[in-house]
């Protein structure tokens, strides 16, 4: 097989598309954050910073000195890159504009959950590394929420896997796209559960407030309060990537329409890209609307909120066990 020019050409072609997908995630993630901030500002009768402001912030942070506490271990310095890499890979594995890309065989939902969990684990260790009170508070809250959100995400995974017969995200999307799945109660329950998990995991209102200056109320921000400069840039970028990954996941599972199923057809790819952007914008606006219309919950009420997501996802999975018709 090796040496066959046609096959090499094919795999090169596929590699390019896969590279596009990975870069796309990296590049659009800050814009998504900027978009949500902009929409939120407009809803609040403010003008708001430009949509592309997060890029400037990343640029600024990259050029600032990274201040590291004297008590920090080497872990503290490495953690931002580790969690960035894990999050990036997880985000890049979520099919965005096309299914069946080169690495899609590895785009297993359970793998994505594990990658995001790894990123959080690294950051949680770093949060406690310096030994300040805020790092500890933020980490304990983040882990508390994650310990409930992760099982919920896994139950969602199992539900869609029951429907599609696989945990490969690309194949699930193909299945939902090409088979007459129809409107299903189980999918509706999963959608609600996944939205709750997404809001929780990405630290949005009503669980966490990414815009707050009140250190005592922070969750994610408290955990990374000691970071500055390029380290902080990596963390912020990873947070944006995580948000993009979750919204892409929702788009891929519940509105897969328009996704290209073959890398051979440039028109389909173009349609896939355009619809993907439209979906992201739509979901970003939805996040902004949710953030404006509800207050943040008390810390211990979040467990009910995320627990509800787990219950919904479990119910969806159970329903499918009872009958594939749900």
């Amino acid at each position: 097989m090796t040496g066959d020019p046609a096959l090499i050409g094919l795999s090169l072609h596929e590699l390019v598309w896969q590279g596009c997908q990975m870069l796309l995630m990296l590049v659009i993630a800050p814009a998504l954050v900027g978009l949500i901030r902009k929409v939120k500002a407009r809803l609040l009768s403010r003008r708001g910073p430009p949509v592309f402001q997060p890029y400037r912030e990343l640029w600024r942070l990259m050029h600032k000195e990274a201040v590291v506490a004297e008590t920090a271990s080497p872990l503290f310095r490495m953690a931002p890159y580790g969690q960035f890499a894990a999050t990036w890979v997880a985000a890049a594995l979520v099919p965005s504009f096309a299914t069946g890309l080169m690495f899609s065989w590895s785009a297993d939902l359970i793998a994505i959950v594990a990658l995001l969990g790894t990123a959080r684990f690294i950051l949680a260790l770093a949060g406690m590394d310096v030994g300040t009170a805020f790092g500890g508070i933020g980490t304990s809250r983040e882990i508390l929420f994650a310990s409930l959100a992760e099982p919920a995400l896994l139950m969602i995974t199992f539900t869609v896997a029951l429907l599609a017969g696989t945990t490969l995200l690309s194949a699930i999307a193909d299945h939902l796209l090409l088979q007459p799945v129809g409107l299903r109660i189980s999918l509706a329950l999963c959608l609600v559960a996944l939205m709750v998990v997404a809001l929780t995991e990405t630290g949005r209102v009503p669980v966490d407030n990414p815009a707050t200056h009140l250190e005592l109320t922070m969750v994610h921000e408290a955990m990374v309060l000691e970071y500055s400069g390029r380290h902080l840039a990596m963390i912020e970028w990873a947070a944006a990537l995580k948000l993009t990954a979750y919204l892409s996941l929702i788009a891929c599972l519940f509105v897969p329409f328009g996704m290209a199923t073959s890398t051979e057809d440039p028109v389909a790819m173009a349609i896939g890209l355009v619809t993907y952007f439209a979906k992201l914008v739509g979901l970003g606006v939805a996040v902004a609307v949710i953030e404006v219309s509800v207050a943040k919950m008390r810390v211990f009420r979040v467990t009910d909120f995320v627990g509800g997501a787990f219950a919904l996802a479990s119910m969806a999975a159970l329903l499918l066990f009872v009958s594939r018709g749900f």
Binding site: K40, L43, L44, S45, R46, A133, F134, G136, I137, S140, R141, V205, P206, N209, A211, T212, H213, L214, E215, L216, T217, E291, V292, S293, V294, A295, K296, M297, R298, V299, F300, R301
Partner: protein, 517 residues
Amino acid sequence: MTAPSTSSPETTPAADPFAGAEPVVAHRPWPRFVLQDAAAWTALAMALGRREGDLVALFADADAVHMAVRGAIAAPVGGVAVASLPVPDGRFPSVGAHHPPAIRLERAIRDLYGHIPEGALDARPWLDHGVWGTGTPLAARAGEPQPADYSFLPVTGEGLHQIPVGPVHAGIIEPGHFRFTANGEAVVRLEERLGYVHKGVEGLAAGASLERAAKLAGRVSGDSTVAYALAFARAVEAALGIAPPPRAHLLRGVLAELERLANHLGDIGAVCNDAAFALMLTQCGLLREEVLRTADAATGHRLMMDMIVPGGLARDVPADGTERVRVLLSRLEPRFARIVELYDTTPSLLDRTVATGFVKPADVRRFAAGGHVGRATGRDFDARRDHAYPPYDRIAPIVALREAGDVDARLWVRIDEVRDSIRLIRAFLDELRAGPVKAEVVPAGEVREGIAMVEAFRGDVVAWVRLAADGTVARLHLRDASWFQWPLLEVAIDGNIVADFPIINKSFNCSYSGHDL
């Protein structure tokens, strides 16, 4: 002005602390007594401890300590009275040992004047952080600088950890240090440390001209500049026996209520923003901005600084200025109603405010906490009504009162006060007639003393002034409402979680600058 006597044989203490004491002639409008001995001072402190009156202020001179009280204990002598105790040896019996609200005031006296409260429960410094380069700056002779280290009260128990917060915060707010001892999220104890913005106002005021002292008073706490300037002006007017013209009184009322409007609007939005509900912040912010711009158009300053001076107003408010205030009110009213509706119909927000940061009625009464902190817990006191000063003597405020004592109740007190301020401003403007706005201020040619209590948006502000024969200020003491609210914040957090502290703190919105002086 005389409060009805509520004393009866059962409640009257055996010894009247004021018995045999001669009132100081030059002190107005409420009397000041120089107590015969330390025993009378202690008797007064113990009476406060038995809740026979409220502590209004506790302050000092180079050679005396003064305690202002109101309520039953002062009823026989006019409702409010100042008791003075000469301290030739620099020692006086501690009031805080019998009446805890006095503890921090005593610590401040010790820091500034060096008078030592004997038998005090807490001998740590308060305002002095050991960075002044001197000790007891206002005493007759400067003392030793304080050591810079400070020990927080010990907390022992299993699984407890400390969270130091501040004095530099992540947001642009005033500096204060909060030391939490927590078990996970549950707060076991909160201890405040304040004094970071001590500016030496009392030292600066000594020897200042009336004009300069009025400016100083207006800069103690920027958000309450009208209230402070009014308190100072009223104290001076009382001392010198000056009656400002009617137009000045009414305009002062308009300014004071505009200040209340602007601050309450800002607070209502800010409290909700601490629950990450930014919509309330921006909508209230818009209204607050309109109030400030109208104030700017009417007085030439957004916060109406330096408008109120002893004798009346520094300058008149032109007719188009008062007209703009009227227009503002008609624009404000419907929009504020919608904001209140938004608050009242957002369950996720109410879930954060209701039953959060509860303050016990007994604590509020013991500390005589004024403003929304007191009134949200059923303490029915408002200086505008209970020590009715013009223009509230003719047009009385409707005192907003709630019983729940939580964040929600403190918000509703503010909401009710916004509504009432709108009504009051309209009523003042209706009464307004053309005329002079300033009476002449002439030195009395002798030492005079005056005291005044004014309701700022946070609560009652007290100004006590001693004027020298040439009309300059010999001694000025300004007491912010926050002195008696800060300690309650420490108990309001009891039983709450760490993450709820910011919203509770914001619902109090105590002054750092006014407290640290």
